[in-house]
Structure formats: C-alpha cells, structure tokens
C-alpha cells in the first residue's frame, strides 16, 4: 500500500508538470489546449534526439529540450492560436483547433522517430529497499521525483514571490483588470507559453525516463492532466499541483482493484465526479 503511494507520488509529480502549464494557459487564454499532452511528448522526443542522436549528456539534453519546447510553445501560439484569437474565435473553436494540432504533433513524432517504443538509455537501475517504510525504489525513480518536485517548487516560488509571477496569476484571474492595471498582457501570454511548454517538456522527459517513449504518450497523458487541472480549478497552479497528486495517487491506488490498463478510467471517473459535484474545482470559485 505504501509502495503504491510512492508510485502515486512519482506519477503525480510528473502529471503536475503538465497540469500547471495547462491550467495557466487555460486560465489566461480561456481555452482548453488539447495539444498540451503532445507538447509533453515532443519535449521528450527532442531530448531523445539530443541525447541519442547528438550524444549530449542527459542533463544538457534535458535543459535544451525544455528550452526548445518552450520556444516552440510560443511559436505555436503565434502561428496557430493567436490568429484565431484575433478573429474573436470562441473557446470551442480554439479547443478543436488544438485537437488538430495534437494530431499533427503526434504524427510528426511518429514520422520522425518511428512508431516503436524508445528509451533514453538501456541501463538497468537496481532497486533498493527503503528501511522502516519497506518500500522498493530505484535510484532513477528518486531522481525523477526529486527533479519534478524541484521544478514544482521553483515554479511555486516564481508565482508567489516574483512580480512577473504575480502578474501571471493576476492575468489568469481577470484578463481585463490586468490590462487596466497597466500589465502588459502580451508579454504575460508569451511568458505563460514559455513556462507551460517548458514544464510540459520536463514532464514528458521524466515520463519517458520512468516508463518509455512512444508517440501515443502525449495523448495518453491528456486525460489525467485535464482531470488534475479541472479538479484543482482552472487557472489555479496550486490547484493543478494538488489535483495532479490526487489523480496520481488515485490511479496507482486503484491497481489492486482494477487491471492496470484501466488506470486512466480512474481519472475519467474523478473528472466526471468533479464536474458533477464541484465543477469549479477545489481551489476556484470566488465571487459570482
């Protein structure tokens, strides 16, 4: 049971990286970005390219992958979503267009890297047992959790302590009020994409490290990260973090009871429950 909780925390931390970016973009630009999962996948595959094809060390590949995906996120917004926003497209149109983008990205990955599963390295990570708690872990899992948690904490500090971070939260709360407070919302939008896409890449890489890389990995992540985002309340990065951990834990804790292939069903059930019982999410719902 404790073992499952540990798996759940690791899974949750990876989901958190995806959910934070998703919720920030959702909150500020008011649309559901169904291409976010594939952005995570793209980040993972870019790092694969740097690591395997260019033989760069993993840490460098990781950073380069995050940077490239961050920039790609901004470019995609410029080219794909902004023209629609400028034509006053409704949220539903933006969401559907993001679905199209998701398919393009996913199949681009399939085309460039092939449909087979890939790995960052073939090294075997020997498990060890944590004393007292009697939990089995390997060093890579600890590393993954540490990196994910570290990034989540960094983002948290950025959003809480820095002026730009607060401006992002403010713009997510109330776009027009941010405008009339003198905040340059264009810059905030760019920053949000940089942050969201960068974090997405990190999440994708960590997932690739934890399991494997395959073109469908981004698509498979969509349901859990959306569940996490909506559970936590759209636009609330803290909600996304908490939601992600809840989803991660729920999925792992369900494995003794239902076949592991159906883990994602847990996310779906939680998502539906949230929408029925408290649609605004745990951390949202202020004034009328």
């Amino acid at each position: 049971m404790l073992q499952l909780i540990v798996y759940g925390l690791i899974s949750g931390s990876i989901l958190a990286l995806g959910a934070i970016g998703l919720t920030l973009i959702y909150g500020i630009l008011n649309f559901a970005n169904f291409a976010h999962g594939d952005l995570m996948a793209l980040g993972a595959y870019l790092v694969l390219f740097f690591r395997v094809s260019l033989a760069l060390p993993m840490w460098l590949s990781f950073i380069l992958g995050m940077l490239c995906t961050a920039l790609l996120g901004v470019c995609l917004d410029r080219v794909w979503f902004r023209p629609l926003r400028q034509r006053q497209a409704r949220a539903a149109i933006l969401a559907i267009s993001s679905l199209g983008l998701a398919l393009i990205l996913q199949n681009l990955i399939r085309m460039l890297w092939g449909p087979q599963a890939q790995y960052y390295s073939r090294a075997i990570h020997f498990p060890f047992t944590v004393p007292i708690l009697q939990v089995r872990l390997n060093t890579q899992q600890v590393l993954i959790f540490a990196i994910a948690l570290g990034l989540v904490i960094l983002v948290s500090l950025f959003l809480q302590r820095t002026k730009l971070g607060k401006a992002m939260r403010a713009t997510s709360d109330n776009f027009n009020l941010a405008l009339v407070s003198g905040i340059d919302t264009e810059r905030v939008v760019i920053l949000t994409w940089l942050l969201g896409a960068g974090l997405a890449a990190a999440g994708g890489v960590l997932l690739g490290m934890s399991v494997r890389l395959q073109p469908i990995m981004g698509w498979d992540l969509l349901l859990p990260i959306f569940a996490a985002t909506i559970l936590g309340g759209i636009g609330s990065p803290y909600g996304a973090m908490v939601g992600a951990f809840i989803i991660g834990l729920a999925e792992e804790l369900s494995t003794p009871f239902i076949p592991t292939e159906y883990k994602t069903a847990v996310s779906l059930v939680l998502l539906v429950l949230v929408l029925l019982v408290r649609p605004r999410g745990l951390f949202a719902g202020w004034n009328a």
Partner: protein, 235 residues
C-alpha cells in the same frame, strides 16, 4: 484645455453602436457624474475611455494627447485608472497583492503608497493577507479602488462604485470618493444613486439611449424638474 475630452464617440459591441456621438469633458480636479437609465451606455463609455473598447468613430483626448486607439496599458501609463463595476479585483490574490498589481508599472515607492492606501481604507490593513475573493462586497470595492489609486492617476474612472452596497456603506463610499478627490484626482463617476452622486459632483451628464441628453453643474441638474422626475424620484 480640459483634462479629458470625449468628442463624438460612437462605440458598441459588434454591429449596433451603443453610444452615438457622445461628448463629454472633465476638467482638472473635477468630479463629473454620469447618470441615466439602464442601458444608456454609461458603462460602455467608461470602457471606451479606459481602452477596453475600440470606438467606431470619434476622438478621445487626454490633456490634448490622442488616446482614442491606445491600448489599455498605455492609457494607464498616461494617467487614467479604471475601476470596473463587477469583477474589479483579482480574487485569488491577496489584498496586498492586488495593490502590488495596481502598482505594477509604478516608478516610485510602492510600500509608501500601500501605507497611504491602508490609511485611507483602514479595514484593508488588517485583511491585507486575505485573498480578495473572500472579502465582502464593500471591502472588495475598497480593494478595487485602492488598486486603481496605486498609480496616482490624474483621472479616476469609477463605474457604479456604490452598486450592491448597503445604504450605510453607500454613504461611506461616497465620502471616501470625496476624500480621494481632495488629493487632487479628477474623477468621472457613473452612478445609479443619481441624487447622491450629483450632490457631490461639480458637473454632470445625463445619458439616455446612447446619446447626450443634459449637461450642467451638479446643482443645476438636481434642480431640473424633468431630471428629478426621471431619476431622482420625482418631487
């Protein structure tokens, strides 16, 4: 030269204009009230001056400078701060963070200005670490106004500052507005409480159906028989 000049502004949402050739002027350090029935376009006028709405025709001048097509954050830089009627705070940010956001582009000392705001609105000091979304309506209005004052605007736009407040708070809020005005800020106020607003305003405009109907000093409008009948409850 007036501080704010609105000349023949035609604006609206989509095809149909809500405002048609509206004119308005605010002199330095004046309080100007805009009154009129619902749907007259008063809020639309505010949003247009603040830059949230692009006018289809007409000109808006701030101290002679053409701000008609300026983006909202530039208009803020030029010295106009706007307090919307609803959704006028950042609910997930604390009171203090709301003020910080108001001061986002402030050059001077933010802390001193915040202290000024806490002195002006004492209730806010003890609640400054609370999320703005958890405050009562009256307290939220105070946060909204304090946020707008953080930049020492030359002109403050207030859209129905007393809306939804209890009768006692309405009086408190209007007194606060007069107090703020005494620091030298010009104010353009849209108000449903027409009588109370006109009592404290230097001049007033009556808008109806998106057009100017009357313009005069506050006192003169209060005394005008037709206006009294329409908005001030007769007598």
């Amino acid at each position: 030269m007036a501080l704010l000049e609105v000349q023949c502004i035609t604006a609206g949402y989509g095809e149909l204009p809500i405002l048609r050739s509206v004119n308005l002027r605010v002199e330095r350090q004046e309080i100007v009230a805009i009154v009129g029935p619902n749907g007259a376009g008063k809020s639309t006028l505010m949003k247009t001056v603040a830059g949230l709405l692009k006018p289809q025709d007409g000109t808006i001048l701030l101290d002679g400078q053409d701000i008609t097509h300026m983006r909202p954050h530039r208009i803020v830089q030029a010295g106009i701060c706007y307090v919307p009627q609803t959704e006028n705070v950042f609910p997930s940010l604390t009171v203090e963070e709301n003020l910080d956001m108001g001061a986002f582009i402030r050059r001077g000392d933010v802390r001193a200005k915040k202290a000024e705001m806490y002195a002006l609105f004492p209730d806010l000091r003890e609640k400054r670490k609370l999320r703005a979304g958890y405050l009562s309506g009256g307290q939220r209005q105070m946060v909204a106004m304090a946020r707008a004052l953080m930049l020492d605007p030359r002109l403050l736009l207030l859209d129905e500052p007393t809306a939804g407040l209890s009768p006692m708070l309405v009086g408190v809020m209007l007194e606060k507005i007069v107090e703020i005005h005494s620091t030298g800020v010009a104010m353009l106020i849209v108000e449903q409480n027409a009588r109370q607003a006109l009592q404290r305003a230097h001049r007033g405009y009556v808008l109806a159906m998106g057009q100017n109907r009357y313009e005069d000093t506050g006192q003169a409008l209060l005394a005008h028989p037709e206006i009294r009948a329409m908005f001030l409850g007769g007598r």
